[in-house]
Amino acid sequence: MADVLLFIVLPYVAISLAIFGGIYRYFNDRFSFSSLSSQLLEHRLLFWGIVPWHYGIVPVLLAHLLAIIFPNWWGVLLGGRDRLTALELVGMALGLLALIGIVILFVRRLVNARVRSVTSVMDWLLLLFLLLQVSLGAYIALTFRWGSLWYLHTAVPWLRSLTFFHPDAAPVLTLPLAVRIHMINAFVIILLFPFTRLVHIFTFPARYIARPWQLIWWRRQ
């Protein structure tokens, strides 16, 4: 029963809340639909935290997603022993980079009074869950080798079964506790998405590449 709640109900609740809550917030509170930069208040520690964090977590997250969307291609990619080793190494390095980054960011928020004064309860909550998630991820990568491969045969079938609406949690139920917590925590973070600064993921200004340098707005007449 608890397994159904955690591995089937929680994902559906989290995803639907993230989608509908995110859309609601975008249309009803666009003003706050971003992160709140504290670089003006403190920049030295921020550099050593935020740059490793983003450059570490974004590729790792994309790898998780790509394996779900294209499991066959992912399997082909990991087919060779050398390739698997290389990918595993890169993944581990990026994971550790993200871990170092978020620890620095966490400490920074704790020790700097200026930054603390612009930190909300939700910021702390999110930061704690992210810290847990990345720590678990790094722990799993280091202790249960070849995660990029067994992920393909455990979590991917489970997540795909959720995606296609015939949920089946069986492939993941026998995994070690750390891995299961990592999975549940992922959906807790998705649940938090519309209520935190995490929404800034969807504000990446990719259009900057193509827009004209200068913008002129005319009043409609």
Partner: protein
Amino acid sequence: MKIRAQTAMVFHLDKCIGCHTCSIACKNIWTDRHGTEYMWWNNVETKPGTGYPTLWEDQGKYQGGWERRDKSVGLRLHSRGEGLANIFYNPSLPSLDDYYEPWSYRYSELTNAPAGDDQPVARPISMITGKEMSIEAGPNWDDDLGGSRIYAAGDFNLAVLTDEERQQLFLLERLVFFHLPRICNHCLNPGCVAACPTGAIYKRGEDGIVLVSQEKCRAWRMCVSGCPYKKVYFNWKTGKSEKCILCYPRQETCQAPACFHSCVGRIRYLGTLLYDADGIEQCASVPDHELVEAQRGLILDPSDPQICQKAQDDGIHESIIEAARKSPVYRFVKEWRLALPLHPEARTIPMLYYVPPLLPVAATMEEGKYELGSDLFVDQATGRLPLRYFAALFAAGNEEPVRAVYRKLLAVRLLRRRETVGDIPEEVVQRILNESGSTSQEAEAIYRMTSLATFAERHVIPPFMREMAIEATTDPFERKESAGFGLSRPPKRGW
């Protein structure tokens, strides 16, 4: 050619007394909110001095404005790709300490202090953390050359002077300074607009006022660095950039902006300029020494019937062209060529112009004879801030336009002295007028606009024709019993 209208400004520095009334007027209206305490959309600096934020003119540090590249210009801060790669951490952002940490005092410690032998003291508390702090800098820390060994000596523009000239400037009996009021320049080629990855900053088509959309801003902070004048500020509380809005809500109801309205020395002039929008890139791309002239060339004559016709074809209303004809800014910048842009080498084509200060003219009176001394422009004893300093400030290092301005300002002054005191021979005045390329009629007009102009002559606010806006065509009862601002809500982050 594509003609657009721009609300532009002239600050006459000879008249600025450095009273900061403009800064206070602005602060009281616009930046008296949590998160904006440290912002001074209008500030008045003492020159020589390092300014606010400290050393803002040092583009090597802050990467503001544009650089000349091949035959065009490129943003100094980043290419598009670099901009996106640096989005998590902007390496050229000034920190709060480059401005100052805003503070208040715990006044209750004064009134609640127990009786004792000592005067009670109110401790300063940070307006960010609410904790006690020690004050180490403020928005006018170096006002009137205070701490000049550190601040004035650090002025970025002094780099163009020789060691000897710099040492002479700081001899006690030679100390000299002037005030430089600064607001957003509402540039034609703004660096902040180009630097914004989201596209939240824009230039209003009708009057060229540069604004930050608070709904669109996503706190990437690139605009703060992209502006070479450091006139975009980051609100650390709301996570939005804010800047001078040239009091557009006041202008739309035909009032002068607050800083203009409150100016005690009446140094400020506001008016419309017509310019050729197709010429912007070309104008921004010329070599340094041609920048001032190129910028003047961009401005069009609103009395020329052909220009008027083209302006109307391009959608500029007749009443705005009429305002452009009366514009005091056009007189100062284009007709009299007295007003110069601040740091044109940033290539943003700023639309705020300065009449440089004619200071201090140390003439002597001997035996009833008015003696100007030797050549004002080479003699350090009379013109104590070297011309090269002003050239670095107002002409991208080209002394020629600055020298021309000073010749004309001096001619006006001598003409008036001849008329009011009468101790200068007519020939001398005529000779100096000729040398400056002016006439007595023009000098008289300059004198009038400088000293006698009325409020309405100084601020020719173009009609905004809000009645033509889309709101006027909607149901007037639509917003009845609502808050009055549509869906506007307090600028608060709930998460």
